[in-house]
């Protein structure tokens, strides 16, 4: 594996102006991603995962911070400057149907991106469609089918084939398996892994399923109200979760017990996610934190290293 840095994100923030007020969607997020690695993003709904993904792809303009792709600062790149890079950066969505025209056959949908980027002749593109379908484990006839004729799992494979059609380097997977059955999830995860190895792909994998993120990722960041509250290599993060929020997330997962005696007591976390318009003063997690002390209500904890590559934003973390 090469150790080439593909992507650097420096203190990136995004604020949306909504009805005259600032919504803090992403706050000062930083990470570095090596080629061939997977960066996992977890956090509750509204924590800023998709926004961060879109910032990296420059589908959104960052309010602050810098995005460096293969050594080039692309933060202020115009759409025209981005064009050649677009092919290299692809996205897979939770709902592949939403990004497909109901009147296009699957074959056309996969070919479409190649046409837009003026790649190959008609025959070459057709051949590539066949290859891609085979690669993602779909029968060739699917080419002639329409989106509504496929199952969710099949459609997600089509979504993956489309993303691969342009031979990308970086693929953002935004909840690609959340709508699928566990049995199909496992098939898609396996496929994503194989493709990563075969094509040296770099992934940003977004999901609120922590176990799947742990399974696939090299490094994981936990987002809360747009901020990274903890970031560490996957094994470290899940074996030594240190931020109280990470701990709450992990404790909230209902695992299948090994006997009736080991069943989990249902212990809910208090409170709701605060409004992103008006994040709490001090530590953004303090209104829900079971360990909060006075200092947490007034002083915002800085992110700091508590171990090799293990960063936590909590006053009490050691």
């Amino acid at each position: 594996m090469s150790s080439e840095v593909l992507l650097e994100v420096h203190e990136v923030s995004k604020r949306f102006r909504v009805q005259g007020r600032d919504l803090h969607a992403v706050e000062k997020v930083s990470f570095q991603l090596q080629r061939g690695q997977t960066f996992g993003l977890v956090g509750e709904s509204g924590s800023g995962k998709s926004t961060l993904g879109r910032l990296v792809l420059k589908l959104l303009e960052a309010t602050e911070g810098r995005i460096v792709y293969q050594g080039k600062d692309i933060t202020r790149f115009t759409q025209k400057q981005m064009r050649p890079l677009r092919q290299e950066m692809q996205i897979i969505f939770q709902d592949p149907m939403a990004s497909m025209s109901p009147r296009m056959t699957i074959g056309m949908a996969i070919e479409d991106a190649m046409i837009i980027h003026r790649i190959g002749t008609k025959e070459e593109r057709q051949k590539r469609v066949d290859e891609l379908l085979e690669r993602v484990g779909l029968p060739r006839e699917v080419k002639w089918a329409y989106p509504h004729e496929l199952s969710g799992g099949q459609l997600q494979r089509v979504g993956i084939a489309r993303a691969l059609s342009l031979r990308p380097k970086l693929v953002i997977c935004d909840e690609p398996i959340s709508a699928l059955d566990v049995s199909i999830q496992v098939q898609v995860i396996q496929l994503l892994r194989e493709l990563q190895q075969d094509y040296d792909l770099t992934y940003i994998f977004i999901s609120h399923n922590l176990a799947v993120v742990e399974y696939l990722s090299d490094v994981v960041a936990v987002l809360y109200l747009g901020e990274v509250v903890e970031q560490a290599p996957a094994e470290e993060l899940f074996s030594r979760p240190t931020h109280p929020y990470t701990q709450v997330l992990i404790q909230s997962i209902l695992k299948m017990p090994r006997s009736l005696e080991e069943r989990q007591v249902l212990t809910p976390i208090q409170g709701e996610i605060p409004s992103p318009f008006d994040p709490p003063k001090g530590c953004p997690f303090h209104p829900r934190c079971p360990m909060a002390v006075d200092r947490c209500r007034t002083t915002k904890p800085e992110r700091r290293l508590i171990g090799p590559n293990h960063a936590v934003a909590c006053h009490l973390a050691t």
Binding site: S183, H208, I253, L254, R263, T267
Partner: protein, 329 residues
């Protein structure tokens, strides 16, 4: 726990017209729910979970029909009742929480009015009492400032809060049975935990029976007393949760268990079930799971396995259940 079955479904068969085809969505399903019991119904998408429960309470799309069966609720066959009579029971004795709260809440009606309406429509109590009870329910569901929130519309709440409002509506008339169709599937784990804890508390307080549909074995095993596994509109396995956890005897159940990725599984190789769940367009005459089953034999492809009891209250529809129990896969 020995108690009366509250709802007893017998040999239910439901089919739909789809173009030229007939979809056999539910193929001879029988089970019962006891008073105060929590029953989990699991299975992949399309296995017939929703159609089974919804058709039993008279909710069925117009391209569908019930071919046969009975759904005895406290002795009355729901499948023989008129729409009026069913409406009296649904929302009164049987509460229902649908999967997508946005489509089942009225977007232009204040949520407080919607909860009150649930009580007033069934003449459950007076207007005054319905108002007080609505505030009480909102409070019990963990919605802060009920009096202020009463006036809000559904879009002014988060997904988890809308799901709790749905629960308030379903619980408003103190039903004996609550049917919850994937009440937490779209929600964050933290919100899922809040909702399940609330459900558990309400269930205990009122000795209410709960039938919960879920994809999630973690939810089913931690929350339910008994679990039914559906596939292709048929029951593959029924077991008390303890037996379900330790002694699952159907290759499909085992396959689903192997598909679960949990924290700490990083180094574990994945073992997916090959293929996907079918849409059943022919009456099953052999084992529906055979095309995906690692143990399938000639017999499986020729002979429909019947549900049989292999332990107390533990039923399995598989020719080779004993071998599965003995850990061949």
């Amino acid at each position: 726990m020995v108690s009366q079955p509250l709802l007893s479904i017998e040999d239910l068969r439901v089919e739909f017209d789809r173009g030229e085809d007939t979809v056999y969505a539910v193929n001879g399903v029988s089970f019962s729910i006891a008073e105060g019991e929590t029953l989990g119904i699991v299975g992949e998408s399309g296995s017939g979970k929703s159609v089974t429960l919804m058709s039993a309470i008279g909710l069925i799309r117009e391209n569908g029909r019930i071919r046969s069966g009975r759904a005895l609720f406290q002795g009355t066959d729901l499948l023989k009742l008129s729409e009026r009579q069913l409406e009296d029971i649904r929302g009164r004795e049987i509460g229902v929480v649908f999967q997508d709260p946005m489509t089942s809440l009225n977007p232009v009606m204040r949520i407080g009015d919607q909860i009150m309406e649930a009580m007033l429509a069934h003449h459950f109590c007076s207007h005054r009492e319905a108002f007080e009870r609505t505030l009480q329910l909102l409070h019990e569901m963990g919605i802060p400032e009920p009096r202020a929130r009463f006036r809000n519309y559904p879009h002014e709440f988060s997904g988890g809060m809308r799901q709790r409002i749905m629960m308030a509506i379903a619980l408003a008339c103190e039903p004996q049975l609550l049917i919850a169709d994937e009440p937490t599937t779209a929600l964050d784990v933290t919100v899922q935990m809040q909702i399940l804890a609330l459900l558990e508390e309400q269930r205990r307080k009122r000795n209410m029976a709960v039938a919960i549909i879920t994809h999630d074995f973690g939810v089913a095993t931690n929350f339910c007393d008994r679990i039914i596994v559906l596939y292709a509109g048929q029951i593959m396995e029924v077991a008390d949760t303890g037996a379900f956890i330790r002694e699952s005897a159907h290759p499909y159940t085992v396959g689903l268990k192997h598909s679960i990725i949990e924290i700490g599984h990083r180094a574990k190789p994945l073992k997916p079930i090959p293929g996907m769940a079918p849409t059943v367009t022919e009456m099953p005459r052999s084992c529906s799971f055979a095309p995906r089953c690692p143990l399938a034999t000639e017999r499986c492809r020729n002979e429909l396995p019947q549900l049989r009891e292999i332990g107390p209250g533990h039923w399995v529809a598989c020719h080779r259940a004993e071998e599965v129990l003995a850990d061949v896969i």
